[in-house]
């Protein structure tokens, strides 16, 4: 059932336009990387601040709020362009282990950042240990995603 859905996605006009034009694919991929850079730069800012390695004298909210908005914007850009790139090769991508890992890590990193980490940082007096623990997990998830995304570009 799912494979027929992905086959249908691949047969749509937009998917065929993406797949049929190298320049369209390249442009989408370039914008995808731009969005991903925004996500990664902002997540680094948040997690390094939580670790105390960056801007330690700044209030947490002053750093985490704009960075979270930038992560959301970067995600909107990279998910939109990523979905268009995916549409052109949906059936092969969905069966690819590296792609599956990339999507799982993305979901885990997003849920962790917007649900768990934001709750910890919004506490009136968050403990240093709690902040540093979430920073280590956050860094591991986002960096893991970056490495797997690079792997997918280069080896798949």
């Amino acid at each position: 059932m799912f494979m027929s859905l992905f086959a249908w996605i691949e047969s749509t006009v937009i998917a065929r336009s993406v797949g049929g034009s190298l320049m369209f694919t390249a442009s989408l991929s370039a914008i995808h990387l731009l969005g991903f850079t925004l996500v990664m730069g902002s997540s680094l800012l948040v997690n390094l601040r939580l670790l105390g390695a960056l801007l330690p004298q700044r209030a947490l909210n002053e750093v985490t709020r704009p960075a979270s908005r930038a992560i959301a914007l970067g995600l909107a850009i990279s998910i939109t362009t990523g979905a268009l790139l995916f549409s052109a090769r949906a059936t092969s991508a969905i069966e690819n282990r590296t792609f599956q890992m990339k999507i799982l890590l993305l979901l885990a990193a997003v849920v962790f950042h917007f649900v768990i980490q934001s709750r910890v940082t919004q506490r009136p007096q968050p403990g240093v240990l709690a902040l540093r623990t979430t920073a280590v997990f956050g860094l591991a998830l986002w960096m893991g995603l970056a490495v797997v995304a690079c792997w997918f570009i280069l080896f798949e």
């Binding site: 390249a26 991929s29 850079t37 680094l44 002053e62 704009p66 690079c150």
Partner: protein, 164 residues
């Protein structure tokens, strides 16, 4: 010696052989290049946003610069070294690629923009740190940096589709 001849010579050196002739050398170098780019541009962006006056405006600009610079330079070094080794391996194809030329022009302009800002900031950082909103020149340098580095990323990715 023309630029093209320098490119041809580079490809014959030991450095030029790393990417095309070693197992996974190309992939590892591109991976380091992309991760270095993400780290350098991702952190630089926040300094640019402070310069424009959009974000992190509560504290002085010099504090942001001091705090973010080591991360930027670490990422930039990784990006530069891996990029140069990749270039040495495919120098003639890169030299003939339009997107590579756009990328290099944007990179040089971004460097000049940063250098001018750095020299002027040394003389005027006391005024600039306190100014709210930042002076027009500072905002212009921040916006210019975002536009130029975005051009570097976009043309770099386009290059990989049109070169190999």
């Amino acid at each position: 010696m023309t630029i093209l001849e320098v490119c041809e010579w580079l490809e014959t050196t030991a450095l030029g052989a790393i990417a095309p002739a070693t197992l996974y050398g190309f992939q590892v170098l591109v991976g380091i290049h992309i991760l270095g780019l993400i780290l350098s541009v991702g952190t630089l962006l926040w300094m640019d946003l402070r310069m424009i006056g959009i974000s992190l405006v509560a504290g002085p600009l010099s504090e942001i610069q001091r705090s973010l610079s080591p991360w930027f330079f670490f990422g930039f070094s990784a990006m530069f070294v891996s990029g140069f080794i990749l270039f040495a391996g495919f120098a003639t194809s890169a030299y003939e690629n339009t997107y590579f030329r756009i990328k290099m022009i944007a990179l040089v302009l971004a460097g000049i923009n940063a250098l001018i800002f750095h020299v002027m900031a040394k003389k005027m950082s006391a005024d600039w740190d306190a100014a709210q909103p930042p002076p027009a020149l500072v905002r212009f340098a921040g916006l210019g940096s975002i536009v130029l580095w975005s051009t570097v990323i976009l043309s770099g990715r386009m290059m990989s589709y049109t070169m190999f």
